[in-house]
Symmetry: C2
Subunit: 241 residues, 2 copies
Amino acid sequence: MDVRKSGGADRSGGRGAARQPRATQADRRARTRAALLESAARGLSRYGYGNLRLEQVAQDAGYTRGALYHQFTGKQELTLAVTEWVLDTWWQEVGVLVERAPDPVAALLTLARGHAVYCRRDIARVAMALRLEFAGQDHPVGRAIEQGYRDLLDRCTALIEAAREGGAIPDGPDGPPAGTLALAFVGAIEGTSIALSGHAPHDAPLVARAAAGALGLTYDPGEHPAPDRTAHRRTTRRGTS
Amino acid sequence: MDVRKSGGADRSGGRGAARQPRATQADRRARTRAALLESAARGLSRYGYGNLRLEQVAQDAGYTRGALYHQFTGKQELTLAVTEWVLDTWWQEVGVLVERAPDPVAALLTLARGHAVYCRRDIARVAMALRLEFAGQDHPVGRAIEQGYRDLLDRCTALIEAAREGGAIPDGPDGPPAGTLALAFVGAIEGTSIALSGHAPHDAPLVARAAAGALGLTYDPGEHPAPDRTAHRRTTRRGTS
DNA sequence: TAACATACATACATGGATGTACGTAAGAGC
DNA sequence: GCTCTTACGTACATCCATGTATGTATGTTA
């Protein structure tokens, strides 16, 4: 009921992010929101939606459930925000590289390697965990995830069709349709990336090899240099003290 | 499995499985247990452990929670029983084929194709769903799943090492260790199999291609004939009378 | 058919997580 | 300075799923 404030520690509201003695409201709000989003992403990645406890999310971010409910209407909206954030991040880090690729095959293999690098973070499994958890349901979170997945599949399908027309991907008479190939391609990338999470630097080339195999190509590592800059370090630890 | 031989409607207790007017207690018990296990496997595959509702499990099997708690001590034991059942089934259907393979590479590719075929059923995702859900936790179910997964990885690692010694799998100086390759191999298989679930007959060759790619080989479909007998039909629909 | 055990249903108790209402401190405009 | 709004914590209410206790019908054995 009463919170003593005499001790000099812990000003500027939450202690999840850096503390500035003179923070504007918008700053506080943005920092708190970011901390909660990151914590929720980590939690969703580890435990999934159903097992996620908002008390734990808030505590990991350095707040209480009160702060969380002040920023989000509830668990669902929080998860939707995390979803949007993760998809945006993916696009900024991986999608951009794919767009710059000179040809369809290079784009597909860049996608594979880029996703492997992206998955080095602990939030990697958010998308897959939510997609599995809500598969076949009719839940807003499931729809959002499924929409992102469908976009990715469409893009891969288009790239595969282009590569087939150019003769870069073999296309026998009884070969699978491009959409099925895209499913296999994305599935191979996701499965391998998650399995190899935490096994850099072998992750990227192995994921690319599996993805290339699904497409019916042989992967030449020299042909397309790895996109790995430095291993990602964000969202791995939260600042304490 | 079910032979009704008399017109009497709905005797012998539960109506989930076949009904026999003169069923012995052991028969009733076994049938009920099987129906509950199958229903639970389907539920776990779709919703995972946390989101699984025992009321729904019992109802889908044609019983109430009372029957479930009479056969199992609770959710955990039920899930452990499902886990054991799924792993046993996998071994009987896939593991046997792998053991019969003439050489390590054939064994690995047989494993890939066999798993794809195994995943045509709707209980395919049980193992992966539980493994993701309990990853990093210390839960009995997680331990059981992890144990099965570790056995699989060990076996694949041994096969990969044997294939490398025989020169069948390339092994460069800075190539990944066999354990890492096994992770990639299994991950590629799991991801591709789940993504292609419901896309027969392309599933098996595509999974094999992705798995072969992870190993650094090119997959020749003619070299190892597909193991697909007929598509599995068990555990796909429940009788509703 | 009398007694006992088993299979299963029904009703109740409990706990844990969500969501809501309310209270307090701190920024923002005057 | 005063007032309003925002950020956040605390306490309460509610719901839902599990687990348990009890009741009933059916097999089983004498």
